[in-house]
């Protein structure tokens, strides 16, 4: 699993990986790089992400993680704020129901998530852009897989429609 390149300089066996940019990273069609935020809970999905690192499981760089103490802390306002600022995808990753460090946090997260889903659906944001998943701290490989699949889904969906509106905001003169 370890593809670390050669450290000692002079051997010619392995080219230094710094200068080989693989094709996979630049998307052939639109060159669109989705921006995705992941709310990860401190006890389950955040350590799973760390575990993916320890096991060197590669996944795209588009996912950026915001740590919260519990999945139940993520409110509709955070998700809407993310989409408003231009997020292409939002992932909420909490514990499995029986693992939750706070006994019932994961269940609350699921209930709150239903409201958020209905709001984003009504706003016309594609259902696939918002994902709730359950990842325990031992499931590093699941975290990497979810990260990869979610990025691909968003890449196929293309950029989020919610972007700054074209109207210029010059000074408004009031006319009585």
């Amino acid at each position: 699993m370890r593809q670390g390149d050669k450290k000692s300089g002079d051997s010619t066996i392995m080219p230094n990986s710094k200068n080989t940019v693989t094709q996979q990273s630049r998307d052939k069609t639109t060159g669109f790089e989705p921006k995705i935020v992941a709310f990860c809970c401190n006890w389950c999905s955040y350590p799973a992400a760390d575990g993916a690192g320890v096991a060197r499981l590669q996944y795209p760089t588009n996912i950026k993680i915001v740590r919260v103490m519990c999945g139940g802390r993520v409110t509709p306002s955070f998700v809407l704020k993310a989409f408003e600022l231009g997020a292409d995808g939002v992932l909420v990753a909490t514990c499995h129901f029986e693992d939750c460090h706070y006994m019932f946090g994961a269940r609350k997260a699921a209930d709150v998530h239903k409201i958020t889903e209905r709001l984003t659906a009504m706003l016309g944001i594609e259902k696939e852009r918002l994902k709730l998943d359950w990842i325990s701290s031992a499931e590093a490989s699941k975290f990497a897989r979810v990260a990869k699949e979610f990025t691909e889904t968003i890449r196929k969906l293309g950029p989020s429609a919610i972007k700054k509106s074209p109207y210029a905001t010059d000074e408004i003169i009031e006319n009585e």
């Binding site: 029986e98 693992d99 325990s136 701290s137 031992a138």
Partner: protein, 55 residues
């Protein structure tokens, strides 16, 4: 140097007793035969009934 307690074996039981003694304010010497703590439990992937991880 105040006297401590000796715990022989760094498995899940050893670690637990060491922690309890340390939290009670005593010095603990934890001697483990293997290169690190965890014993058999660290090799276990899932635990029965709750099926959570041994992390």
């Amino acid at each position: 140097m105040p006297k401590g307690a000796l715990v022989v074996g760094g498995g899940v039981a050893g670690v637990q007793s060491a922690l309890d003694l340390a939290n009670a304010g005593f010095k603990v010497f934890l001697v483990e035969r293997g290169p690190c703590l965890g014993g058999r439990t660290s090799q276990i992937h899932k635990i029965f009934t709750s099926m959570d991880c041994t992390g």
